[in-house]
């Protein structure tokens, strides 16, 4: 509790401090960039019977200073920077909570396939009562809050147009004491005016992170649905395409496919083992 209160105070203060430092830096041309993407897209939601997440308006605010940067909800301090290497201290939000914010009030009835997957999990030793639907009372689930992560980000240019990005983060808000590490390699390609980027990534989430979001504890479920996942690795594949139409407008498309780890896919709260995201639209640069 003390830790949670401490970080609840520290994180806003850190954000204000970074903002003040950013504004105090030497003003550079194009240091601040603001854009809005308008289009049509969707992100599938693997959690229970939740609806998919529409992607229609995508605001983007970034600041690139000599020492600090803001990239939407990512805030960072450049600790070491050279032409091919960058080490940052990073403040960034958790992402998994976005799948839990569209709950309706209904109970979630585990389908036979979900139940079959769940009962194959190593953590589940009980067997369901035959001929009796197994339900999860959503009102008993604790809120899955957005947490703040802090840690280090490492960027490395491996070769022309090949970039490596690594992040090792620990949860600062004190909700669940989780940690995450992420690694991605990106190949960028410029063909005439077409800008393409292909990304392959792998992330690791600690057991406490996955338990907070995808676990079911004693107060949330019954003995049949109780679930405490181990840590897990997820893989990601992503394609970005941009095409400048005018000085202010770009066309943009991105698509990603994320393979969820078994520790998530086998949760009784989860009905899919992947997350698919697609967006196509125009981006206006202010």
């Amino acid at each position: 509790m003390i830790t949670r209160r401490f970080f609840a105070k520290i994180v806003p203060l850190l954000a204000i401090w970074l903002s003040a430092l950013a504004s105090a830096e030497t003003t550079q041309d194009k240091a601040w960039q603001i854009s809005v993407g308008v289009g049509l897209g969707v992100r599938t939601n693997p959690v229970m019977d939740n609806k998919n997440i529409p992607l229609v308006i995508l605001p983007h605010v970034s600041y690139q200073g000599d020492r600090f940067f803001i990239d939407n909800l990512d805030w960072g301090i450049k600790l070491v920077e050279s032409e091919h290497f960058q080490l940052n201290a990073l403040l960034t939000p958790s992402y998994d909570q976005i799948f839990f914010h569209r709950w309706d009030a209904n109970n979630f009835i585990l389908s036979s396939s979900t139940w079959a997957s769940f009962t194959h999990s190593d953590q589940q030793t009980n067997s369901p009562a035959q001929n009796k639907p197994v339900t999860i009372d959503k009102s008993r689930l604790h809120p899955r809050r957005m947490a703040a992560f802090g840690g280090f980000e490492w960027r490395q240019s491996l070769a022309p147009d090949w970039d490596l990005n690594g992040q090792c983060l620990t949860e600062l808000t004190g909700y669940y004491g989780g940690s995450e590490c992420r690694l991605a390699i990106t190949k960028t390609l410029n063909i005439n005016r077409h800008e393409l980027a292909f990304t392959f990534g792998e992330s690791w989430q600690s057991s406490s992170t996955l338990t907070y979001f995808y676990g079911v504890n004693g107060s949330e479920g019954t003995n049949l649905t109780r679930y405490a996942p181990s840590s897990g690795h997820a893989e990601l594949m992503r394609v970005d395409w941009a095409y400048p139409l005018t000085q202010d407008w770009d066309l943009r498309l991105f698509a990603s496919y994320k393979w969820l780890p078994e520790a998530i896919a086998q949760s009784p709260l989860v009905t899919d083992d992947k997350i698919v995201t697609v967006f196509v639209g125009g981006v206006y640069h202010f």
Binding site: G37, N72, S157, D163, A184, T199, G201
Partner: protein
């Protein structure tokens, strides 16, 4: 500062009869260099071939680097140690600016070349 110097260079073309050229006009500093230590040749001439009495000054300096009396062209060889872009200015005896040229000092970028991309972000 560079932008200001550039503005001055454009703004002081009061006398279009005088042309001033610097060779070289540019110095690029690498990460291991703190200053440009270079020989710079300043050449001026009167387009109409009229004689002038004038002096060459470095920006923010009151002492002239070289002076000429009633001639239509001139050359000065300068040994300059510069850390930032600097204007060289030709002035007549009434301290009126006749022409100006900027010697650019550019620090080679040591920053990560490509914009940050976080593939794990919301979108």
């Amino acid at each position: 500062m560079t932008a200001l110097v550039g503005f001055m260079a454009c703004a002081v073309q009061a006398n279009k009869d005088i042309e001033l050229n610097l060779q070289p006009r540019l110095c690029v500093l690498t990460s291991s260099e703190a200053q440009c230590d270079q020989r710079v040749v300043a050449q001026w001439r009167s387009v109409s071939n009229n004689p002038y009495s004038l002096c060459l000054y470095q920006q923010h300096q009151s002492q002239p680097l070289a002076c000429w009396d009633q001639v239509a062209l001139g050359t000065a060889e300068l040994h300059q140690v510069l850390r930032q872009s600097t204007a060289f200015i030709l002035k007549d005896q009434q301290q009126q600016v006749l022409s100006s040229q900027t010697y650019e000092v550019i620090v080679e970028s040591q920053r990560f070349q490509r914009p940050r991309r976080n593939p794990w972000s919301f979108y």
